[in-house]
């Protein structure tokens, strides 16, 4: 279902990096998270190599969302640090898809996509038509985002991942509100991304067969 062509050109960069041996590696050392007056987790260590998919799980409130936000710099770690092959400023290396999707209700899906790709400085702007069909919103292209169904919104939010290539994908419960086809779409996107040399960290309560490593946070 997913047209892997989207990945070919733009992804050449970090695929090449992956092949040339100095592959990217995302690692966290002794990471700790404090929210309010509570220590959510501490002494967390993990590494994700290029092409890796890490599944973070744990009970409600265990700190999954906090971890993902820390990786892209939206939350400062209370201790420890995170780096991508030595680089610690990861905001521009990451796509973050959170519980709140950052979509604007008064735009249409088409407009959202066009702006998204311009804002991400996509080198070749993708044709919104193709992408819309791709994520299953062809019919809703010119409806206001505020009137989309929950799953349709979620699909639109996914399109941000394709706006520009970035090595790290952080996905917080990406299957939420999606039907079977939608879940397959997410899986395909993640697989393509990993194959192109990217890395994925996803938080989910369900099993993720695609993942090649699991991190369990205990509350």
């Amino acid at each position: 279902m997913v047209n892997t062509e989207y990945f070919s050109g733009a992804y050449a960069d970090f695929s090449r990096a992956a092949m040339s041996g100095d592959a990217l590696c995302l690692r966290a050392d002794n990471l700790a998270c404090v929210r309010g007056l509570r220590v959510v987790f501490a002494d967390l260590n993990f590494a994700v190599a290029a092409g890796g998919i890490l599944h973070v799980s744990g009970a409600n409130g265990a700190g999954k969302t906090s971890l993902l936000r820390m990786i892209c710099g939206l939350l400062a770690p209370a201790a420890g640090h995170i780096s991508l092959s030595g680089n610690t400023a990861l905001a521009r290396q990451s796509h973050y898809l959170g519980h709140a999707d950052g979509l604007k209700n008064t735009l249409t899906p088409r407009e959202t996509m066009i702006y998204e790709s311009r804002l991400m400085a996509a080198h070749e702007a993708c044709a919104p038509e193709d992408l819309l069909a791709h994520i299953g919103l062809a019919k809703q292209a010119d409806q206001r985002v505020g009137t989309l169904s929950a799953g349709q919104r979620r699909r639109l939010a996914l399109s941000r991942l394709l706006a520009a290539p970035r090595p790290i994908w952080l996905m917080d419960e990406p299957y939420t509100a999606l039907d079977t086809a939608g879940r397959d779409l997410v899986d395909t996107l993640m697989r393509c991304h990993a194959e192109a040399g990217g890395m994925v960290v996803l938080a989910a309560h369900e099993a993720v067969p695609l993942a090649d490593a699991q991190l369990v946070l205990d509350a």
């Binding site: 960069d13 970090f14 936000r69 892209c72 710099g73 939206l74 939350l75 991508l84 680089n87 905001a91 521009r92 290396q93 990451s94 796509h95 973050y96 959170g98 519980h99 709140a100 999707d101 950052g102 979509l103 604007k104 209700n105 008064t106 735009l107 407009e111 702006y115 311009r118 804002l119 991400m120 400085a121 080198h123 941000r160 290539p165 970035r166 090595p167």
Partner: protein
Amino acid sequence: MTGRPIAMWPILRALFARELRLVLRGGHLLPVLAFVFICVMLMPFGLGPELSLLQRLAPGLLWVIMLMAVLLSLDRMFQADFEDGGLDQLLLLPIALEGAVIAKICAHFVGILLPVLAAIPLAGLLLNIHPDAVLPVLATLLAGAPALVMLGAIGAALAVGVRRAGLLTVLIVTPLYVPVLVFGAGGLARALAAPGMLDVGALGVLGLISMASLFLAPPAIAAALRAGLR
């Protein structure tokens, strides 16, 4: 990391265009304009129908009205972004947050405050303003508006994610407005006392304050937004 350099300018332009569209779709302009005219309409009742008094006060009133219009319109400038996760996405853009902030503010300026400025001469007419006074009023307003907007945005950013953010913004911002108002309305009054000429001194000071706030406010706003992340 992807190897190719990223040009900032097109991103800023795209952000500006998007925000402008959001502002225009949000229908914020009309209520602000309505507010201006309600105020203007109200004044003769408050002041009594004496035209000469109205004429004398018109410039100062226009300044105060403009100031409140700015406050009203900036109030929730960053709140929506905070609530819907858009703020997170702003922070992940390939440009500095300061730049994004400037683009957003410019969009608000163009989408809401320029039309309000354009309506000021008409509002002045309703207040029986002296024709000679229109130009100085507009000139001082234009010179002072950037400062008003930038200071207002600092307040809006500080209050992000806070309950009843609007009022907190007002509380934070208005004290900062006083110097602008002193030079704006005060300089204006002096200019009008010696009719036919602009008070270049006050205009210069206003411009200076505006320039200073154009440079100093964006880092403060960006820092406030970062502090507001949850």
